[in-house]
């Protein structure tokens, strides 16, 4: 066009509807910017701080997590639940971007339910992990951040898979995810064995998360504990992380005054007399208070 030539104006390359709107599912960034760099510099700040863990043992799978949702140095929610049930026999611990985790878990729930209806039986945990990783790997490079451990009981017994949003899915016996995971791994690796009793497993999980919340700034709040058994998943308890850590630090004492300092237990664990977890490396020190953690509800 003549006017175009006179003004030396170049028409934009793209034709079609308004070019300033992004394609469906795409990011709206200024023209000429590289997507990754732009997001890194100006994108939404994502929440990654957490401690979640899961391990598999003879009597099922334990999933435990802290409850602090942080956004940088701001605690967005001190009592969020990071363990999401998928169906009766499957739980997922979530870490990374909370929104991504919740969304993808809803999609996973839908897909598993459809498969269950079509096939007449629930898909295995391996199948669920594969499905989730394949779904997310399509969005690789678009800054999805979901690091999750799928804990379930299927036809092959207790099963545990780690799935990451770049498409990784790994089978294993112990996984810990999040900024507090190194601290949790230390505790877990020290005391884990496949033939633990249920009370030992509960104590180990609580101990690991409590230690992680003590050292990691982005983990804290309370400690949620879930157990997946053959009959389905069960919400065991929620304990305040600070109180839990203090209790763990106390030397185990069999005298009544040690027990009197505890609040009355509110947790739903069935108490087994004399059945305790070994938390410290003191030999022969088996204290009854280990299995009855004070189950104060979380505050602040």
């Amino acid at each position: 066009m003549a006017l175009q030539d006179v003004c030396k104006w170049q028409a934009p390359e793209t034709w079609g509807p308004s070019t300033h709107l992004p394609q469906a599912g795409d990011w709206a960034i200024p023209q000429g910017c590289n997507l990754q760099t732009f997001l890194q510099m100006h994108g939404p700040r994502l929440a990654h701080g957490t401690t979640t863990l899961a391990f598999r043992f003879r009597h099922g799978v334990i999933a435990a997590a802290d409850t602090r949702s942080s956004c940088g140095s701001y605690v967005a929610c001190p009592s969020s639940c990071k363990v999401i049930p998928v169906h009766q026999h499957l739980l997922g611990t979530t870490s990374g971007t909370s929104a991504d985790c919740v969304t993808w878990y809803r999609v996973l729930q839908r897909e598993l339910r459809l498969r269950e209806l079509r096939e007449g039986q629930l898909p295995s945990v391996a199948s669920a992990a594969k499905l989730l990783s394949v779904m997310m790997s399509r969005y690789r490079g678009l800054d999805l951040c979901v690091a999750t451990a799928l804990c379930g009981w299927d036809r092959s017994g207790p099963a545990l898979f780690y799935v990451y949003s770049d498409g990784t899915h790994l089978q294993g016996d112990i996984f810990s995810v999040g900024s507090g995971s190194p601290y949790a791994y230390g505790v877990l690796d020290r005391n884990y064995h496949y033939d633990m009793t249920i009370q030992e497993a509960y104590a180990l999980a609580r101990c690991a998360v409590a230690h992680a919340t003590h050292r990691d700034a982005y983990s804290g709040g309370s400690v949620d504990l879930f157990h997946v058994r053959e009959s389905g998943w069960e919400y065991v308890s929620r304990n305040d992380a600070c109180v839990l850590y203090m209790e763990l630090q106390k030397l185990p004492e069999p005298e009544p005054e040690g027990k009197a300092s505890q609040a009355h237990p509110e947790s739903v664990i069935p108490h087994r007399a004399g059945e305790c977890g070994k938390l410290s490396s003191e030999p022969g020190e088996v204290s009854a208070e280990d299995s009855r953690m004070p189950a104060k509800t979380e505050t602040l």
Partner: protein, 229 residues
């Protein structure tokens, strides 16, 4: 215009029949017989071995095919159609393993084959597959299963069934003789399959494939070929 020849070949008749599908079932009735029997721990597939021309290499004529380690099928009808269906089923078995991390169940692969056949009764310019299939195998739970599909795309589970030439007579024989005693153990089930086929044919024509379960090794099946004297 090409679209004139692109209409669906399978259309309804005024009285509600799909004639192409029924003609396909006639083609199946011309194929050599196959019989399937489900025992307690065993599934047996027996097929009539058609006499081959003198110069033909009879080892290449295979009517019983493995779809996966734990699933087999036999067919009656157009061999070329069967080859296509079997290939698609084999691919689906592996695809399923890849996406779902579990081997197919016998019901799943039967449903897949049946859905495939049904699609061809409702597509432009295509004719139905001219085969019926007997699909056998074991699932994770170790229970033997036998399914039958037909050109219309329906499938059912059976305790014992026959397809192909003289299927009706063989089925009647099975109805009379399929008892709890008859399938009491593996050998009895095999004998029942042989007797069912012997009703119609001479012994030389039977090629029997026996599928057994080995519970100790937790394998799904073992295939044996037996030639009857």
């Amino acid at each position: 215009m090409a679209s004139r020849y692109d209409r669906a070949i399978t259309v309804f008749s005024p009285d509600g029949h799909l004639f192409q599908v029924e003609y396909a079932q006639e083609a199946v009735k011309k194929g050599s017989t196959a019989v399937g029997i489900r025992g307690t721990n065993i599934v047996v597939l027996g097929v009539e071995k058609k006499s081959v021309a003198k110069l033909q290499d009879e080892r290449t004529v295979r009517k019983i095919c493995a779809l996966d380690d734990h699933v087999c099928m036999a067919f009656a009808g157009l061999t070329a159609d069967a080859r296509v269906v079997i290939n698609r089923a084999r691919v689906e078995c592996q695809s399923h393993k890849l996406t779902v991390e579990d081997p197919v169940t016998v019901e799943y692969i039967t449903r897949f084959i049946a859905t495939l056949k049904q699609k061809y009764t409702q597509s432009n310019g295509r004719r139905p597959f001219g085969i019926s299939a007997l699909i056998v195998g074991f699932d994770d739970d170790g229970i033997p299963r036998l399914y039958q599909t037909d050109p219309s795309g329906t499938y059912h589970a059976w305790k014992a069934n026959a397809i192909g030439r003289s299927a009706k007579t063989v089925r009647e024989f099975l109805e009379k003789n399929y008892t709890e005693d008859a399938i009491a153990n593996d050998n009895e089930a095999i004998k029942l399959a042989i007797r069912a086929l012997l009703e119609m044919f001479s012994a030389k024509e039977i090629e029997l494939q026996v599928t057994e379960i080995e519970k100790e090794k937790e394998e799904a099946e073992k295939k044996k070929s037996k030639k009857n004297a």
